[in-house]
């Protein structure tokens, strides 16, 4: 039997209060082993307090070729940003 261990994507929460963030990938036979390997590979210097792993094949990614139709519409909507609005100087914080 010749079969590669499946590939897993690893997400680390660097400290409580922050998001888990993608840090890389690794091979492991199952989820439990993936967490153990992730600990050894990605948190040797206190980089994390929590680990998520997910098998890479379950991740669906957007197609780079669709980037324009997906993200272009947000570009001309400057009114979604607070700096779009002119307020009198007397209003100090808003």
């Amino acid at each position: 039997m010749k079969k590669e261990w499946p590939l897993w994507e690893v997400f680390i929460r660097s400290k409580s209060g922050l998001h888990h963030k993608h840090v890389g990938s690794l091979h492991a036979a199952d989820a439990e082993m993936a967490i153990e390997h992730a600990r050894d590979v990605y948190t040797r210097r206190n980089e994390g307090v929590s680990i998520w792993v997910v098998e890479s094949k379950y991740i669906t990614a957007s197609d780079p070729a669709d980037a324009d139709p997906l993200f272009e519409p947000a570009k001309d909507k400057v009114y979604r940003h607070p700096t779009f609005y002119n307020l009198p100087d007397e209003v100090k914080h808003m």
Binding site: M1, K3, E4, G24, A29, D30, D40, P64
Partner: protein
């Protein structure tokens, strides 16, 4: 879209310093070139554990032993980051490993030299990791996203490697005459192979020009080698060791050290497999791969069995 249009847009992105990510279109040659370079880099990290592992059981103190184990473990980690980066380009891990084991893929020739004394562990950290850092700092800005990110992690960790090596050399250089002689002997043996790590002269380098255009590499072999010499010579002087090069001289006009010619016959000889330890290194890797086969298979079989049992249980609960 026509291929030449895609290539034009690709080059425009590179020129605009926009990183290329795994699912983006890229020329086949870019992909192949990267798989070759990243996997060879990964192999170097993995094979690089062997000369140092040689001294773990004989480290002179518990402190040195802990440090060396941590360093060797880092090298394994670096190998993994890099293999993962290569896999984002569609390469399979097993194929990459096989290319190493059957001699098709190269790794850094420096690891085909033996570690004869404890001082060699100092020289490797200081010089070999020092030379690697020159290359790797450049690669944190390489055009392929996953490779660049792997390099950022590696560079953060690599700095400790160089410092611990220099500290070993410093300690020996301040020690007894025998210890100082040991440090000098290690420098004598590792200096030239370290300069060879940067590869052939720019004029002789096969992949350089295209790699620079694609910003896979951002500095030439000769530029990096010069930077390494300029940084390292004063460090040797500081601890009273002598760089084994009669032609080494500060050139005021250039603002760089001039240095002697590398023995390129030796370089090509080692690259072609005739260095002192080429055979031993590959034999060790092959044995590790073969001896570990049953573990890899058993872990997979166990995982599959557990998954099947879980499926069956959830079926029973549903029923």
């Amino acid at each position: 879209m026509q291929t030449h249009d895609l290539e034009k847009r690709f080059q425009e992105k590179i020129d605009a310093e926009i990183k290329i990510e795994p699912k983006d279109w890229m020329p086949d040659a870019y992909r192949k070139n990267l798989i070759r370079q990243i996997s060879q880099h990964a192999h170097s990290e993995v094979v690089g554990m062997l000369p140092e592992g040689n001294w773990i059981t004989r480290a002179p103190s518990l402190r040195r032993k802990l440090i060396l184990m941590a360093k060797v473990q880092d090298e394994a980690g670096h190998g993994l980051y890099l293999y993962s980066a290569a896999e984002t380009l569609g390469a399979s891990r097993d194929d990459l490993v096989m290319d190493l084991l059957n001699g098709k893929a190269k790794y850094s020739s420096i690891f085909n030299y033996p570690t004869l004394t404890w001082a060699d562990i100092g020289a490797i950290g200081w010089l070999v990791d020092g030379a690697a850092i020159m290359n790797q700092v450049m690669l944190t800005r390489t055009s392929y996203g996953p490779y660049a990110r792997a390099m950022v992690r590696i560079c953060k960790e690599e700095s400790f490697h160089q410092r611990q090596g220099y500290e070993i050399m410093l300690t020996l250089a301040k020690g007894s005459p025998e210890q100082k002689a040991m440090a000098q002997d290690a420098l004598d043996r590792w200096w030239w192979p370290s300069l060879m790590m940067f590869g052939p002269h720019d004029s002789e380098s096969t992949h350089s020009e295209q790699s620079m255009k694609w910003k896979i590499k951002r500095k030439s072999n000769d530029e990096l080698r010069q930077a390494f010499v300029d940084a390292t010579v004063p460090q040797a002087e500081l601890i009273g060791l002598k760089v084994p090069d009669p032609d080494l001289k500060w050139n005021e006009e250039r603002g760089h050290y001039d240095f002697g010619e590398i023995n390129w016959d030796e370089f090509w000889n080692v690259v072609k497999g005739h260095g002192p330890c080429n055979k031993q290194r590959l034999d060790t890797r092959r044995k590790a791969w073969e001896d570990g086969a049953w573990v890899r298979e058993a872990a997979m079989a166990y995982a599959e069995k557990k998954a099947a049992r879980r499926l069956q249980q959830s079926g029973e609960e549903a029923a």
